[in-house]
């Protein structure tokens, strides 16, 4: 059981800010996923925890003990690299055993640990093979095995699945989730740019934004349970990043604010949102304020309502359809995800934005708190 804590960590390379003011706690046994676009510093953050890089400011604690002066191997963490980084001239067994042997562990103990890891990862048949004789998925399992045998308190994964093809990725994702349940006590920190991996694996998502986009804000855009990030994004950046296809954003002018509902005019048409406008701390939030309304494509109600739009483009994906709509009264095109298939391009379709699904973002990007009941925590078996 191990708790990882980052206290106001910043990282600069020369003149370039990579991470700003990151404060974060990974609880014991938690599966924490760092996600963000490329260049947001998520891998750097992982390397700071591993000790492969040193923070420019701030400190890292593991189990309440500062580890900044400790070598990577002394931190009791193990890392799985994106490129696997197996020792190519050693067999799978040797790859797992090499570090242990170097630490003077007894031969019988090494054999036991490797056998155990091999059993978990179903590598028993492959132990004598060299990395070049293994497939990508098998190599990744050996790399994970090399981490397991060290019995670390914290596992660090740096985009472990991005070199695998799609079907293997789904299978390995499932295995990592099982592994986390099986190992139980170990904390895991996992870096990915893949939303699906983040949503499916994480107990806690840390969404990072590139410093350049943050405009002086800390690197962490939001920390929370996957569904919390989906249902209650803290700001426009999070709302736009989480969810696929991405949320629609429409500019609007606030016309009315109450505790339970905020109404804004989008191209002159009132759109209601069930947000608590009174709870926001912004002092100039009221009638006349410029805001951005957000609605996810899957929440746009097509075929009902009092507004109409022209279907400008359709993407049929079988299971559902992406519909690009241009409202009759304006120019902003938005997208809807629907199961209906009867429409054709050029059709005029009625639509509405259900108030319980409309997000409101202030000019500075922060979200107005929503009044909704969402399953805030997934049931953890």
């Amino acid at each position: 059981m191990s708790r990882v804590q980052l206290n106001d960590v910043s990282k600069r390379y020369g003149d370039v800010d990579v991470l700003r003011h990151v404060s974060l706690i990974v609880e014991p046994g938690e599966f924490c996923v760092f996600i963000g676009p490329s260049g947001c510093g998520k891998s750097t953050l992982l390397r700071l925890i591993a000790g492969l890089d040193d923070p420019s400011a701030g400190g890292v604690e593991i189990d309440g003990r500062p580890v900044d002066h400790l070598q990577p191997a002394e931190r009791n963490v193990a890392m799985v690299f994106q490129s696997y980084a197996l020792y190519p001239h050693m067999s799978a067994f040797e790859n797992m055993a090499f570090g242990l042997r170097h630490h003077g562990l007894a031969g019988r103990e090494i054999d036991r640990r490797v056998a155990e890891a091999a059993k978990i990862l179903r590598l028993e048949e492959l132990l004598q093979r060299k990395p070049r004789e293994l497939s990508g998925g098998q190599r990744q399992r050996v790399a994970i095995g090399r981490a397991i045998v060290r019995q670390p308190k914290v596992f660090l994964f740096d985009e472990p699945l991005s070199n695998l093809d799609a079907s293997l990725r789904a299978a390995t994702r499932l295995e990592i989730a099982k592994l986390h349940r099986g190992l139980g006590s170990a904390s895991m920190v996992y870096v990915t740019h893949d939303q699906v991996e983040a949503m499916t694996l994480a107990d806690k998502i840390v969404l990072l934004r590139p410093v350049a986009e943050g405009k002086g804000l800390p690197s962490i855009a939001q920390i929370g349970h996957p569904l919390a990030l989906y249902h209650r994004p803290a700001n426009r950046y999070v709302a736009g990043f989480i969810g696929s296809p991405a949320m629609n954003f429409l500019p609007g002018i606030v016309s009315d604010v109450t505790g339970g509902c905020t109404t804004a005019l989008v191209n002159g048409t009132p759109v209601a949102a069930r947000v608590n406008g009174l709870a926001t701390t912004a002092d100039r939030f009221g009638a006349g304020a410029a805001v951005t309304l957000g609605i996810r494509p899957e929440h746009v109600a097509l075929g009902q309502g009092n507004q109409t739009a022209v279907l400008s483009h359709l993407e049929h994906l079988g299971e559902y359809t992406h519909a690009y709509l241009t409202p009759r009264n304006g120019t902003e095109t938005f997208m809807a995800k629907t199961a209906a298939t009867g429409w054709r391009m050029g059709d005029v379709v009625p639509f509405t934005f259900p108030p319980e699904h409309v997000h409101v973002f202030l000019a500075d990007g922060s979200a107005v708190p929503r009044i909704i009941d969402v399953p805030a925590q997934r049931v953890i078996a």
Binding site: Q71, A73, S83, L86, H89, P131, R132, G136
Partner: protein, 256 residues
Amino acid sequence: MSLFPFVYAVSTSFKQGSALFRPGLWPEPATLDNYRSLFRDQPFAHNLLNSFVVAAGTVLLSLCLSLLAAWSLGRVEFRGRGLLLGTILAASMFPQVAVLSGMYELVSFLGLYDHLGALWMSHLIITLPFTVWVLVTFMRQLPKELEEAALMDGLGVFTVIFRIFLPLLWPALVATGLLAFIASWNEFLFALTFTLSTDRRTVPVAITLISGSSGFELPWGTIMAASVIVTVPLIFLVVCFQRRIVSGLTAGAVKG
């Protein structure tokens, strides 16, 4: 065409007496007398051994030194790294004669004159620049994650270099080692300058100093026999190691 001088040397080494001065390629009558006299009249076997000790020692030393140098020059970021690499390259640009007198001072200061150690040291000047450069290039091609993985495993610098990198650099080491061996084996000027006694001479010097029964006679047959003997180990080495220079040893280290 380029083989002709060598073929001629081989043929001459089997000729004898006045046959030496007939330009025919086929030695008639063929004889091994030249080879016999080579080992009988002078300590040629001893010279061969000297050459081998010098060349092997030089190869070992330069590979060890350049492996360590390659790690620090290829992997560690430090100020003046480019300059240092440039200096190493520049060192190989000076002609041997330019460093000869300075080298002589150094050798006598260390008390290595007329000792094979002097040759080890001086031959390093010739071999080190290119072994370092070649190994730095190879070292840089090895994935960085490999070193980081080793760091996570808690391995020390020397373990990383000798247990992880060395096996991966094996083909490069063999190739550069072979070149260093040839350079050291054939080196003449330093060998001539820093050795005095006959039993310290290396083969290239010994060959030059082979003399006939009178000062006016050059024993061509013996000289050619010696040259052939000198070349054989090199050919043997190249053929031997060529099989072991397998590329693609790093395949499977990273994604594939």
